[in-house]
């Protein structure tokens, strides 16, 4: 069997590089099966090198070769390598640390206007709910649904209302805490998603939340339990209401970027902001976790009003410090 008298340039080109392509293909097969973890450190370093090599091979091959199978193969190979190299860049642990040390507080500051706006909306709801219920206790029923009230209505006696504030649950605390956490987180994440509908449902949800809270505060205040009510709500409420504000802000950013795309195309603008504010929603989920733990354990176990007030103050100070001071320095440049 004799070799052809002369070889095409493109065939020569292929002979010289084929080995590297095969090596890349082998690595990709393993990554696609078992993830990046299945590679050794040396192979992990080799992957981007081989990827760039294959990418330049593709550029050259498009210019000099007409072998369709080769072009298809290289295109697919580079595509696969691209997905691996640019798919999951950082290890999850690093991403989580970076998120809490920098990304989350930074994104809260960037969208501070929206966070303030959603806080204002909720505060407006609270004030309105409080004043309207104070003027006419019957309105309580239209602000607080049956399932939410759980017997805490103007019809209940002062003694019953007080009992709710100081009833320490027994035994079921962990279930209660995890229920609160999952329930609130789901609502928070829904708030983000609803932003897609131009943000209108988000505004509605924020107002409604505030109205319910205000109405309940008015009910307790009318029985002289106002201070104790807030001492009951705020230890976890600071965190929880803060998280709700963040989710509301995320939803409103989404709605705004859809309605007012500015200089970008609507689609591009949405994608640009969507990724950013997804961080708000994720951070809020963690805040809900904290709030759920406080509400489910601490509030049920600690009855003293003074301690409750101090915990509320501590959480407020903590979040204020966290969002205003943490992560001001430039992030470590992690992009390749």
């Amino acid at each position: 069997m004799t070799a052809p008298a002369f070889t095409l340039k493109s065939a020569q080109f292929r002979r010289e590089r084929e080995e590297a392509w095969r090596e890349l293909e082998m690595l990709l097969l393993r990554v696609e099966k078992g993830g990046l973890r299945s590679l050794t450190a040396g192979e992990l370093n080799r992957l981007p090198v081989l990827y760039r090599g294959a990418a330049s091979s593709l550029s050259v091959a498009t210019a000099i070769s007409l072998d369709k199978n080769l072009l298809d193969y290289l295109t697919a190979l580079v595509g696969r390598a691209y997905i691996c190299v640019y798919g999951a860049k950082r290890r999850p642990e690093e991403a989580v640390i970076e998120f809490f040390r920098h990304d989350f507080p930074a994104v809260v500051r960037r969208y501070f206007g929206f966070v303030a706006l959603s806080f204002a909306l909720m505060a407006l709801g609270v004030v309105a709910g409080y004043r309207m219920t104070k003027a006419d206790p019957e309105r309580y029923y239209s602000f607080v649904g049956d399932s939410q009230a759980q017997g805490r209505t103007p019809a209940a006696s002062t003694k019953e209302l007080r009992e709710v504030l100081y009833s320490g649950g027994r035994g079921e605390l962990s279930v209660f805490a995890s229920f609160l956490f999952t329930h609130n987180s789901n609502i928070g994440m829904l708030c983000f998603a609803l932003g897609f509908a131009a943000g209108v449902p988000v505004i509605f949800l924020l107002l409604q939340n505030g109205l319910g809270l205000g109405a309940m505060a008015a009910l307790y205040a009318s029985r002289g339990l106002g201070g104790e009510f807030w001492a009951w709500i705020l230890p976890h409420g600071v965190t929880e209401l803060g998280a709700i504000c963040l989710c509301g802000a995320a939803g409103m950013v989404l709605g705004t970027s859809l309605v007012f795309p500015g200089r970008q195309t609507r689609l591009r603008n949405l994608a640009l902001h969507g990724r950013e504010v997804a961080r708000l929603a994720v951070g809020a989920v963690v805040m809900f976790l904290v709030a759920g733990a406080i509400e489910g354990f601490f509030r049920q176990l600690v009855q003293d009003v003074g301690v409750r007030w101090s915990l509320a103050a501590v959480t407020l100070a903590f979040w204020a410090w966290y969002f205003l001071a943490v992560g001001r320095e430039q992030p470590r440049e992690a992009r390749p």
Partner: protein, 310 residues
């Protein structure tokens, strides 16, 4: 970002940071739906399993710890199953892997964790909320009117059908996150037809002498093609011929097709009548080689001819 349609698949070109534009085939809606159903089954099975365990645990005296565990695991499964596997699995959950589709970033940059979060948070709006409104409307709105379900059905329809209304098959979550679901590219490198002596694929055994001598192709002196003869066909025809030869290699092509093509080529290029009878495979391989050499030569000088003349 540009996109062209080739054949059935829509091709979306992604500019990579290296400055090349990589074509990806946009995943079919059916494949994505199947992948989602598969993942949903895993999630549902997982949820049922933890609740059964919790029930079992409470029977043997573990008390309520099991239930809070089940609540948390269920929450994690429903909200972070997709997020976790799309981040750690290179843009693919089990279902996506099974159906051969992947998530990538539409602008060519890395697929970030935020983007994955954003696209999956939208599932709340797209699927979970309308489905729960459909199944238990009372849980959302206490005094749900009868048409509430109809509304939920319409809602579900709008979002579920969203991928049909745009060419890149983006669902809501993809819009918000700037992502795209593509077919996982795959292709096998076959031997170079012009370079048979170096790499040879496994051929089916063939009685020699019946259909002509086996490759390697005889030196091109045996079939001397002139410049004019190689000046007729273009890239498209060359690649059609390549496809035929490769299919013949794999033994999935009727020899008569090859003979037919051979006759047509001879007629088109004006093959001399006195040497009209040629062995089919060697002739076609030699022609492929010569034709490719000629076209690649032209390409180096910046002339790419896509189609044959006339």
């Amino acid at each position: 970002m540009s996109a062209i349609a080739i054949g059935k698949d829509r091709i979306h070109r992604v500019p990579t940071p290296e400055g090349i534009s990589l074509p990806f085939a946009v995943a079919a809606v059916g494949d994505r739906a199947a992948a989602f159903l598969f993942d949903l089954l895993i999630i549902i099975a997982g949820t049922v399993a933890v609740w059964l365990l919790a029930l079992l645990g409470s029977r043997v005296g573990l008390g309520s710890v099991g239930f809070s565990f089940a609540l948390l695991v269920g929450f994690l499964l429903w909200n972070f199953y997709f997020v976790h596997f799309e981040i750690s699995g290179g843009g693919a959950t089990f279902g996506k892997r099974k159906m051969g589709v992947r998530v990538i970033s539409r602008d060519g940059g890395p697929l970030t964790a935020e983007a994955v979060f954003a696209r999956n948070l939208m599932r709340n709006l797209e699927f979970y909320l309308p489905v729960s409104a459909l199944l238990v409307p009372e849980a959302l709105v206490p005094e749900s009117p009868g048409w509430g379900r109809l509304l939920a059905l319409g809602w579900l329809g709008v979002f579920a059908l969203m991928p049909f209304f745009n060419q890149d098959r983006l669902r809501c979550g993809d819009l918000v996150a700037g992502t795209l679901v593509v077919k996982a590219p795959e292709a096998v490198l076959l031997s170079d037809l012009s370079d048979r002596a170096t790499v040879r694929p496994a051929r089916r055994p063939q009685p020699t002498g019946v259909t002509g001598p086996p490759p390697p192709p005889p030196p091109s002196e045996e079939f001397p093609f002139t410049r004019e003869q190689l000046d007729i066909y273009g890239v498209h025809e060359l690649q059609v011929l390549e496809d035929l030869l490769r299919r013949d290699d794999q033994g999935v092509l009727d020899l008569r097709v090859l003979e037919d093509v051979c006759e047509k080529i001879k007629a088109k290029i004006g093959w001399p009548a006195d040497r009209w009878q040629v062995p089919v495979r060697p002739f076609l391989q030699a022609f492929y080689r010569a034709q490719r050499a000629a076209l690649e030569q032209r390409m180096l000088f910046g002339q790419r001819r896509e189609r044959k003349k006339g």
